[in-house]
Symmetry: C2
Subunit: 281 residues, 2 copies
C-alpha cells in the first residue's frame, strides 16, 4: 500500500464561516484536505468537501482518521462549545489524555486550547493558524466604512482596548463593549453574540447618551493565535447594530474579517463604523 | 438663629436595604440624620425617617439642604443608576461642577465616585463609609451555611478572585461567576443581578457539569471603600440560586452582609453555601 500524500490539512471545524473558507481555499489551491466535524454540529456546507465526523471521546480514532487521510497539518477554525463528555465512550487514547485535558478545562479557555494543541503536536501533527492560510482576510489598518468614529468613539475604543488587554492577563474573553466610558459588557465563554445580546437588553439608565458605544475585539495578549484567532464578519455588524452600538473595532493584524467587502457594505447600510485600529491610534 | 446641631449624618440613599439600615441605626443611637433620595427612586421606607428629595442638577440646593439639617458627615449607600442629566435644570453650583463630573463619567465607575466624594469634601463634608457605622454587618471569615464548598467550588472561588482582582485594575466590576474553571460572567455597570440573570440564561454546552459555579464579590483593589462597599443579602442568594450556582463567596472584611441570619437561613433552604473567605484560604 502506498503512503497517502503527506502534507494534507485537517480542518477541525467549529461554527461560523471560517472552516468553510479554509476548505474552499484548499480546494482552490488543489491541496489535499479533510474537514472534521464534531458530534451533532451542523455543517451543511461540508457535503461539498471531503468530510468526516468525530467524537471527542474517541481521540485515537480521530488521530487515525486524520493520518489515514494523509494530513500532517491541523487547523482549528470556528468556535466550538465545550463538549459534554461521556466517560463510557472514552477510547484508550482519550482515557490516557483525560486527566490532562480535564485539568486544563479548569484553568481557562486558552490553557485548554494550548493543551489540545500540545496533544496534537505530540501525535506528530503541525498546528497551522487559519490566518496563515487566509492571509488576505487578516484585518489591515484603516476605517473602510463610510461612518467614521467620533472623538467619544475613539475614547471608548481605547478604554475597551485597555480593559480587554487587562482581562486577557487572566485568560478571559476577547471582547468588550464600552459606551461613554462605561463598560457595558465583557466577553466570557458564551461569546461575542451573547455579550451583544446582553448589551441590547441593557436599559436606559446605563445608556443615557444613546449615540455611543463600541465593540472592541482582539486576541488575548498571551493567546496562541494559531488556535483561537478572533474573526468578525457581517453577523458581528448585525449584532453590534442590534445592541445599539456605533461601530466595531479590531486591532491591525489582530482579527480575520470574513468577507470584508460584504462586511463594510452591511456596516454602511446600518450606519456603523468598522475600524481596524493601529497600535498608535 | 442658633446653629443647627453640627454632627448629623446625611444618608445619600440608593437602592437596596443598606440606606434603610443606616437610618435605623442613626435613629437607634438617637443621632441626628437626614435621608436624601434622588429623582424618582422608590424609597417607601423613608417615610419613617427625616427625608428630603434632591436632584442631581441642583447641587447647590442639595448642599444647602444637607447643611441646613445640621449634617456635616455624608454616607453614600446603595446603588444608584447614572442619571440622565438635563442641562436646562442645572443650578449655578452644578454648572460649575459639570465639566469635572462629566469628564469623570467617561473614566469609569470608581473615578466618578471619587470625583463626587472630592466635591463633597470641598464643600466641607466628611465622607463616612457605611461599614464604619454598621460594623456588625461587615462579613467575618467563616462558612456559616450548612452546605460547605467542595474542592471544585474552592478552585472556582480562587479563579474568580483572581479575575475580579485583575479586572479591578481597570476599574470595572466587583463580581464574577466561575463554574468548573470557566468564567461565565463578569460584572459590569448593570450590577450583580443582571450578571446572574445572564448566567441563568447560559445554556447547557457551557455548563456541562450542572453542579458547579460560584458568585464571587469583592471591592475593587483601588476602590474607595467609603463610597462603594459591596453588599450582599437574601436577594443575592436568591439570584445565585436562580443562576444555578452552588454558593456565594465574599472576602473577609470585604462586604456588608445585610441580615446575616436571614441570609444564611435562605442559603440553607436553597442549599447554597455562603463563604466569607480569608485571604490565605
Amino acid at each position: 500500500m502506498m503512503a497517502a500524500q503527506q502534507n494534507g490539512l485537517a480542518i477541525i471545524a467549529g461554527r461560523g464561516d471560517l472552516p468553510k473558507l479554509l476548505a474552499e481555499e484548499c480546494a482552490r489551491r488543489n491541496e489535499p484536505y479533510l474537514v472534521i466535524g464534531f458530534g451533532n454540529a451542523a455543517l451543511k456546507w461540508a457535503v461539498d468537501h471531503p468530510f468526516e465526523t468525530a467524537q471527542f471521546e474517541k481521540a485515537g480514532a480521530l488521530f487515525d482518521t486524520i493520518r489515514n487521510a494523509g494530513c500532517t497539518r491541523v487547523v482549528f477554525a470556528g468556535s466550538m462549545s465545550r463538549p459534554s463528555l461521556n466517560p463510557l465512550k472514552y477510547d484508550w487514547k482519550f482515557t490516557k489524555l483525560a486527566p490532562r485535558l480535564l485539568k486544563s478545562l479548569g484553568a481557562g479557555d486558552d490553557e485548554t486550547l494550548r493543551t489540545i494543541a500540545s496533544v496534537f503536536n505530540e501525535e506528530g501533527f503541525e498546528i497551522i493558524g487559519a490566518d496563515s492560510i487566509l492571509e488576505n482576510l487578516v484585518a489591515k489598518r484603516g476605517i473602510p466604512s463610510k461612518r467614521q468614529p467620533s472623538e467619544i468613539d475613539r475614547t471608548d475604543a481605547n478604554r475597551a482596548r485597555e480593559i480587554v488587554t487587562q482581562l486577557g492577563q487572566v485568560d478571559v474573553g476577547q471582547g468588550c463593549v464600552v459606551a461613554n466610558g462605561i463598560c457595558l459588557a465583557l466577553e466570557t465563554i458564551q461569546g461575542t453574540d451573547a455579550m451583544l445580546d446582553f448589551v441590547a437588553q441593557t436599559a436606559a439608565p446605563y445608556r443615557h447618551n444613546a449615540d455611543a458605544g463600541v465593540l472592541f475585539k482582539a486576541p488575548k495578549p498571551h493567546q496562541d493565535r494559531r488556535i483561537d484567532f478572533p474573526a468578525i464578519g457581517t453577523d458581528t455588524i448585525h449584532a453590534a447594530h442590534r445592541a445599539g452600538l456605533n461601530g466595531v473595532v479590531v486591532p491591525d493584524g489582530g482579527a480575520l474579517i470574513i468577507d470584508l467587502q460584504e462586511t463594510v457594505k452591511i456596516a454602511d447600510e446600518l450606519n456603523l463604523f468598522l475600524w481596524i485600529q493601529g497600535g498608535d491610534e
